[in-house]
């Protein structure tokens, strides 16, 4: 089984890695380049815990063929923080008790970021729709929706 070279940027840093044919991007990020923030939950696209941005679009690492992302720009929750400063979504999740076990959180935050990147002023329904592909078994979702709306408010304040 010959390995395939793949290059991409992960959270702004160039990465080059050899991947197995058929390997999914989630595995490659976690074991190949050591970004452990996307999580394995189902490997079939139903849970959203490996959600990440690929060229600005929300996608699932487990359903993305690793060799197909050559040249792509990948963003994960692991790279959201700038220095010591958490992203407003991270702050809002912390303050709003929007995580309990924390396992769905990295995917949930990327789904929220994908929404706010396109729609800085979302309605509650927009937020619910945006995280509809991410399953959380602990919180009951309400604190998560509240946190995303709070983050949106704060980010608009910052821009204004």
């Amino acid at each position: 089984m010959s390995k395939i070279p793949v290059q991409f940027t992960l959270n702004g840093t160039e990465k080059a890695v050899f991947v197995d044919p058929g390997a999914n991007l989630l595995d490659v990020l976690r074991r190949g380049v050591g970004d452990l923030s996307p999580k394995y939950g189902c490997a079939q696209g139903t849970c959203g815990s490996c959600a990440m941005l690929i060229d600005g679009e929300l996608r699932l690492g487990c359903l993305t063929l690793a060799e197909a992302v050559s040249g792509a720009r990948i963003e994960t929750t692991g790279g959201l923080q700038t220095g010591e400063e958490p992203h407003p979504l991270q702050t809002a999740f912390m303050e709003g008790f929007a995580a309990q076990c924390g396992y769905c959180t990295p995917g949930m935050i990327m789904a929220a970021k994908a929404l706010l990147d396109r729609n800085p002023n979302p309605s509650r329904d927009d937020v619910i729709e945006a995280i509809s592909g991410n399953i959380c078994r602990c919180t009951g979702y309400q604190p998560i929706v509240d946190a995303i709306l709070t983050a949106a408010d704060r980010m608009r304040g910052r821009i204004a």
């Binding site: 999740f93 008790f97 924390g102």
Partner: protein, 608 residues
């Protein structure tokens, strides 16, 4: 949603000057969660990590005629095939750690599978894909056997035996009965006095906990002849002890690291992935990961078990419940896991948060060819509470009463005697009902509004342990031989009575306990005088008493399982009666031999 503190309620029972409780506090682990840096077990990377996958039963019930793993063994990347014989002590029951129940489940099943997905073999390979492909290449020659998937079918004489350790398809309670009994007062008398009889049947399906992180563990050899194990377990030392027992390894050689769990909800206490991973590391000398995929989590991950409840209530015209009878079935699936305990816990919860003078229940832990059931958020209670509260609505309808007022009327008050002979304390149902009614703008009568958990309780009959009718129906093995009815008291050729008692004053019953179990539970019978029992042996020889009230109560009232006495050190464990009954069954004989040969008795290392 902000928490609303009702400081007007129970103000004198509480210190309201607390500094932390009630204050918004950020979780100490949340920075790791939102930055993706919390260390779940699978976030520990190991050089040369091997992957373990199981070969699983496609049948509800089948005998394994032959396994051919030759082709799988030769496939690329395969490091090791793990057979049942590779498991040093391949039999366990989870609650053996607290001396409850008999070992009944193998880590890898060697001879007969009893549920879909039961593991029979494992493959360790260099990549997950190679492990999957090799597992798929293992050829198993199955001989499908008749199966049973329904709790009541499983109790019938002609039902196939699911669990060899419990040939009657029921867990043994107190080495005596095939069910957990609760007897309090005389339900038949209550039914006779009632104006309405209300009956209901309630069924709950199994529920998968479905944590987003599936169950799994990574184990690796460590220095000083130890193994490190990173695990998703909810009970770290529980899993450590189970691993030590199954692998016959000193617990001091196991270094378990956990605590960061990606959701559990009860589904991560069964301690299957940890012994598998450590076994893999031990057999290969390399780090091994054993992780369930989502399909395994859903198919073989033990769910909250199915339950079936029948409730019969005798209700007075004014809505007071005079008698309540339960017949309950917990579907344990193929093995005991924690269902035996769920039954005991559920029985202790009956008849719900209501003061009812006559209560009787028979609750069964039944083995079927379904996925073994285990813990999930309030298990033992949640299902029967659903049944009870549906039943309360039904009673309200039958009695023509408002459902909330019916609950307030019957609710526990402080000082009331509960059916399991404990005093009700810190009751709050009435206040909950009042607040809920307010929130829902639901009108309440002045009496219901004035009611309080702190008044009217613990006086007269409410504080009494009533004279109690008992029976000895449902001894282990009896049901399957005679197709007995399952409800309390049914089929009793004779009943005994236990005299009434009081808890809250110095008066006590005049009659001392007359059988050994009652002596153990002395404080609950209300008797505080001297006990002089000629024979403390198990009451197998107790003769059924006449049906009329007499001076000689005949049956024990086990409402909580007394722990079985530990066997004397240095002796071989004696075979339980169930095992003796089936000495002609070679599989059972093998299991009995293994148990006898074990250096473990119910999880305790025997002194040599």
């Amino acid at each position: 949603m902000p928490v609303e503190f009702r400081k007007d309620l129970f103000a004198n029972e509480r210190d309201d000057t607390l500094k932390e409780i009630g204050q918004p506090r950020i979780r100490q682990d949340i920075l790791g969660h939102v930055s993706g840096r919390s260390p779940y077990y699978d976030d520990h990377l190991f050089e040369g990590l091997l992957h373990m996958r199981c070969v699983r039963s496609p049948h509800h019930h089948a005998r394994i005629r032959h396994i051919d793993a030759g082709a799988a063994e030769r496939m690329p990347g395969v490091v090791r095939v793990v057979w049942p014989a590779d498991v040093p002590h391949n039999i366990n029951t989870l609650l053996s750690l607290i001396n409850f129940g008999r070992d009944d489940e193998a880590l890898l099943q060697p001879s007969r599978v009893t549920y879909i997905g039961e593991p029979v073999l494992a493959i360790i390979a260099k990549t997950e894909r190679e492990a999957r492909e090799a597992a798929a290449a293992v050829r198993v020659d199955w001989e499908p056997l008749p199966h049973v998937l329904d709790v009541e079918e499983a109790l019938k004489p002609d039902a196939p035996t699911v669990n060899g350790e419990y040939p009657n398809n029921t867990f043994d309670y107190h080495d005596l009965y095939d069910h957990q009994k609760l007897r309090f007062g005389d339900v038949e008398k209550g039914f006779r006095e009632a104006d309405h009889i209300v009956e209901g049947e309630y069924r709950m399906s199994p529920i998968e906990q479905a944590p987003i992180e599936t169950c799994g563990a990574i184990a690796a050899p460590e220095t000083n002849d130890r193994y490190v194990c990173h695990t998703a377990t909810q009970g770290l030392f529980f899993s450590l002890a189970v691993t030590a027992k199954l692998l016959d390894i000193a617990s001091s050689r196991l270094h378990f690291i956990g605590g960061t769990v990606g959701g559990g909800f009860g589904g991560k206490v069964d301690s299957i992935t940890e012994p598998m991973a450590v076994l893999g590391a031990r057999l290969t000398g390399q780090p091994v990961k054993f992780m369930w995929d989502r399909e395994e989590e859903m198919q073989v991950g033990a769910p909250r078990g199915a339950e079936l409840w029948r409730i019969k209530d005798g209700v007075a015209r004014d809505g007071r419940i005079l008698a309540r009878q339960f017949t309950g079935f917990f579907d344990s699936g193929a093995y005991t896991r924690l269902s035996s305990y769920a039954v005991v816990k559920g029985t202790g919860h009956l008849p719900g948060p209501y003061t009812i003078p006559n209560v009787a229940s028979n609750v069964y832990c039944v083995f079927t060819n379904r996925t073994p059931a285990t813990a999930m958020r309030g298990f033992g209670i949640t299902g029967v509470d659903f049944a009870i509260e549906c039943q309360m609505d039904k009673v309200a309808e039958a009695a023509g009463l408002d459902p909330i007022e019916l609950r307030i009327l019957n609710a526990y008050r402080d000082g009331d005697m509960k059916a399991h002979r404990r005093e009700a304390k810190n009751c709050a149902l009435i206040e909950c009902c009042q607040v809920a009614a307010d929130k829902a703008r639901w009108p309440l009568s002045p009496q219901s509004r004035a009611a309080s958990s702190m008044t009217e309780g613990g006086v007269g009959w409410r504080a009494e342990i009533p004279e109690t009718v008992t029976d000895q129906v449902g001894r282990i093995g009896e049901r399957r031989r005679q197709a007995l009815p399952s409800e309390p008291g049914a089929g009793a050729a004779a009943t005994g009575r236990v005299a009434a008692g009081m808890r809250r004053d110095d008066r006590s019953v005049e009659l001392p306990p007359q059988v050994a179990d009652m002596a153990k539970e002395q404080e609950r019978t209300g008797y505080s005088g001297k006990v002089d029992l000629p024979d403390h042996a198990a009451p197998a020889s107790v003769q059924p008493a006449p049906a009329t009230p007499v001076q000689r109560p005949a049956a024990p009232l086990p409402t909580q399982p007394p722990p079985p006495p530990p066997p004397p050190a240095g002796t071989a464990p004696s075979l339980p009666p169930a095992a003796q009954q089936r000495a002609d069954d070679p599989e059972a004989a093998e299991q009995a031999r293994r148990r006898a040969a074990s250096r473990f008795i119910s999880g305790t290392r025997r002194r040599r």
